[in-house]
Amino acid sequence: MSIKPGSFLQLAAAHLALLAYTALALFPVGLILINSFKERNAIFRTPFNLPDAETFSVAGFETVFGRGAFPSYFLNSLIVTVGALLLIFIAGTMAAHALAEYQFPGNTLLGLYLAVGIMVPIRLGTVSILRLVVSMDLNDTLWALILVYTASGLPLAVFVLSQFMRQVPRDLKDAARVDGASEYRVYWMTIPLIRPAIGTVMVFNMIPIWNDLWFPLILAPGERSKTVTLGAQQFLGQFANDYNAVLASLTLAAVPVVILYILFSRQLIQGLTSGAVK
């Protein structure tokens, strides 16, 4: 199909608008990045310039590594995120399999029960969650966070995964049963068949867990269980006037997420645009 002359101008205008908005979306992040590698005077004198031989400095990063316990915060965030994702994977696929595969009394009702959590924010139950966590002696532990994030991630995971599990051909499972496979084996066999959906659900849950401030602040503010989001928040509040350190810690906290995003953006975007919002 040929492009009409009038639509060339339209196309140029569309690109111009998109470029302008992309610049607006990226410039704050870029600004932080370039200034985190500059010495203090240059940050204020010429904030828009790239660091050069004269203005280059890593003083901020030295402060962050010297004062903050960032490596251990990173490790905590990693354990919480991976732990919650693992539990969402195990419990989510198992429940989705049961709902999709077996006709038992209350199947629909149970599906609805598990779906309620999609629309109700778990934060509204925070006071009781805190009491529960304290009564189980789990406050200031990573377990508290892992369990809460699992509970809040499960509703959407079960909902999406059971839709995909219903599409796995029956013949395949029945053939395995004829060969003497147990129900557990049949379940395990369907997992690779819905791998793309699982990937989407995992990436979809990963970012909000990594970025959450609310539950680390309330359930696990202790030094040993602090996540990187909470650590950055407190560090930034404390060193608000040390601009080098602030910019460096912003850069450090953003980098892992940006790397993960670059690696997984396809799954994330697929998740946003397909099953996750049906």
Binding site: Q10, P47, Y102, Y113, R123, L147, N211, L213
Partner: protein, 307 residues
């Protein structure tokens, strides 16, 4: 049911369901219900037993001279925060999505990946980045370089909330953009082609063909915006603190909830009043979701049936 089938109880179904049902019930459903129950109780003296007061906490929240201004202000501010998202973020997202959905746009996936980037960063980082950019020290130097005298936008009661709402719009616009884009791409080309043959212009096609077809997505985006913004907390807490500075002008239901049950500075923690604030949030969110289910979805269903 024949006896032969009944004798082997399907234990595997229980095993498959148990982990999810137990974790979800214990850490989500039970706390939500227990929290609503707690909102009907009060503690008369510090450390004393919890006494049933019915709707007393709610009555106090809306009539007591200490609580009443706080809750009404927080509800008002939260509505303002939500409405700015509804009427700035979502139209902007729709505009970007329709630009991206054009068949002739080269580099669609690059644009959408880049525009989505702020949404993957934590609100804490976004909050500090913008606080820095708008700050009287760094921000003034920054804007001076391009010849603009920057007013203290986050320090003035009139501008702080709208500006922070726009920061949040800036961060999250990628999410509705993706949803709109997926819906727009799914529209069959033949439909648009047919309208064009009938002489419809680009704008006409958008209003008469595309928009009606993506109405289900518009509804989902609206309800997600509503639920998401009625428990907003992180951005305000990060940039303005738990008191919604300056002078409570940015205080949302989320910050009021946190402050009430957790305590801050001179205000003692009050878990039962906190659960009452959560109860108010719950009622508002629940009402919003119900309105969506019973008006929007029902209308859409009726339209599909008529087709």
């Amino acid at each position: 049911m024949p006896a032969s089938k009944r004798k082997s109880f399907p234990w595997h179904i229980v095993v498959f369901l148990a982990p999810a049902v137990i974790i979800y019930t214990l850490f989500m459903i039970y706390p939500l219900i227990d929290s609503l129950r707690l909102s009907l109780y009060t503690v008369e003296q510090q450390g004393g037993p919890e006494v049933f007061v019915g709707l007393g906490n709610y009555q106090r929240l809306f009539t007591d001279p200490f609580w009443q201004p706080q809750i009404t202000r927080a509800v008002g501010n939260t509505f303002e925060f939500f409405l700015i998202h509804m009427f700035v973020q979502n139209p902007l997202a729709l505009l970007l999505a329709s630009l991206l959905s054009s068949r002739f746009i080269v580099g669609r996936s690059i644009y959408r990946t880049l525009i989505f980037t702020p949404s993957v960063l934590s609100v804490v980082l976004i909050g500090f980045i913008w606080q820095l950019i708008l700050s009287p020290v760094f921000g003034r130097a920054l804007f001076a370089q391009i010849g603009i005298k920057l007013p203290p936008l986050l320090g003035q009661a009139e501008t702080a909330l709208p500006v922070l709402s726009l920061v949040s719009v800036w961060q999250w616009v990628g999410v509705p953009m993706m949803l709109f884009l997926a819906a727009l791409i799914a529209i069959p080309d033949e439909l648009i082609e047919a309208a064009r043959v009938d002489g419809a212009t680009g704008v006409g096609v958008f209003w008469r063909i595309k928009l009606p077809l993506i109405m289900p997505t518009v509804g989902i985006v609206a309800v997600l915006t509503f639920v998401g913004n009625f428990n907003a907390f992180d951005l305000i807490y990060t940039t303005q603190g738990a008191l919604g500075a300056p002078d409570y002008s940015t205080d949302l239901l989320g910050t009021l909830f946190y402050r009430t049950f957790f305590g801050v500075q001179l205000q003692l923690p009050n878990p039962t009043m906190g659960t009452a604030v959560a109860g108010v949030m719950f009622v508002i969110i629940f009402t919003g979701v119900l309105i969506y289910l019973f008006t929007w979805q029902r209308r859409l269903l009726r339209n599909t049936v008529e087709l």
